[in-house]
Amino acid sequence: MIRRAILKALAIPGHQIPFGAREMPLPYGWGTGGIAVTAAILGPRDVLKVIDQGADDTTNAVSIRRFFARVAGIATTTRTAEASVIQTRHRIPERPLQEGQVMVFQVPMPEPLFRLEPRLAETRRLHALGDYALAQLRLYEDIAQQGEAGSAYNHPVMVAGRYLMSPSPIPGFDNPKLHMSPAIMLFGAGREKKIYAVPPWTEVRSLDFDDHPFAPVHAAQGCAFCGSTASYKDEIVADDAGGRVFVCSDTDACREGQE
């Protein structure tokens, strides 16, 4: 059932496909949608990487990796370069993805129009009609009120010029990585039971205005560990005096940078 939904999703880029699945013995918000998708696509030769906010070593990432190693008997890794399947929450790795790799996103809310139009039947109609004036209007309001597009996370994208899609809560910084990626991008929303996808080499554009092009923010400083200025950073408090440093959010990319 889930595989079927994945195939449909790949055939209609950016379009949300409902799926039926049994309840999992796991609370929503822990990545049930992502786990369902990962479970549906893993083969015996796959190598799985799981990240949470860019890190491989958080409790959630470690548990999911260990779970699949045990029940599917597959190999796991923390290295982006070695992974064939990467389940993620909040980030896309810094290292450019390769053909043959699959990203699996955990999605808390699949509907990009959710905040603008609370009636789900109406959002389906708007998708069918390709009527995204509301999303554009929200963007207009953000710029008018704050001087820039406000959504630092989960900034909506147009997929293949047809469907408006939530990229899941990744930072705007990662949005450009969806565009023309050689990898397969699969999105699983457990609570809402929706799957959607971006096939390889698909046009993915962040919603913007011609005269206010989408421009993700970069951290002001380089990484305190590896020195990278190109990566996405977490800002952390470094001492009792409230001093702050920036470090790479992608722990694997940071490790590579330090080598």
Partner: protein, 251 residues
């Protein structure tokens, strides 16, 4: 030249109520047609049928050569945001109260494909001036405006895409008399400047005189009298119209 919109033999019942009973209407480019009648006479129902929102039980509506009720939803929506405008009696029904005045005006432009923020701001400012609102208040929400200002904002929101035909359902309905007069003046000026065709619903036949070229009088779902505005007002033929006209003169 041919009629911009044409409808004939419209019938629509709500249970036992004949809301529309064999109604025929047409409107020509640049023409303002007032539809006058007491509460419950079927004015709003007629407007909703003409604008494709409610299907009649029988009869058809043609716009620019197309049968309105045979259009797909996508086509009808496109008409609604390019060729047509709809002004609600209650501004709150026609505005997004959670969105700034500028956003309200800009929405139809964005729906029509404009993706230039600066151009949208410019158009919004220009339209605020045209409806006598201060463009400096472009980023205020409609809730901060008075009733008359909200109504003018709704009109700007509707006219920004330069529609050919506007449906106005008692646009001056809930307003104070002096505010009404100012709004009617504004509508008259805009309709003239833009060469708009408009249906203008009112139960106030005096307001119809100010704005309309032609008047249709409705009662119990039927058009009981129709003619050029001056003729209907100066020489009403149907007893019901005579009653309406004399009640205005007496007032």
């Amino acid at each position: 030249m041919s009629a911009l919109l044409e409808a004939d033999a419209l019938h629509l019942r709500f249970g036992a109520v004949r809301a529309l009973d064999d109604v025929a209407v047409s409107i020509w480019p640049g023409e303002v047609v007032a539809i006058v009648g007491e509460s419950g006479s079927g004015k709003s129902t007629l407007l909703r049928v003409l604008s494709g929102q409610v299907a009649p039980d029988a009869g058809g509506v043609r716009y620019a050569g197309a049968e309105v009720h045979a259009l797909g939803e996508a086509q009808r929506r496109r008409l609604m945001c390019t060729d047509w405008g709809y002004v609600h009696q209650n501004a709150r029904d026609g505005l997004r109260m959670g969105v700034s005045a500028g956003g309200n005006i800009g929405e139809r432009l964005m729906a029509a494909g404009t993706r230039h923020y600066g151009a949208i701001r410019d158009a919004a400012a220009e339209w605020m001036v045209k409806v006598e609102l201060d463009p400096a208040r472009m980023d205020d929400r409609p809730g901060m405006f008075s009733g008359g200002m909200q109504q003018r904002l709704q009109i700007a929101r509707c006219l920004v895409t330069q529609p050919k035909l506007v449906f106005m359902d008692e646009p001056t309905g809930g307003l104070d008399v002096s505010v009404q007069a100012r709004l009617l003046d504004l509508l008259r000026r805009l309709v003239g400047e833009l060469g708009l065709a408009a249906f203008f619903l009112t139960h106030d036949i005096a307001a119809a005189r100010l704005l309309a070229h032609r008047i249709l009088v409705m009662r119990h779902g039927r058009v009981v009298e129709e003619g050029l505005a001056d003729r209907v007002l100066d020489d009403p033929r149907h007893p019901y119209t005579q009653l309406l006209v004399s009640s205005v003169l007496a007032a």
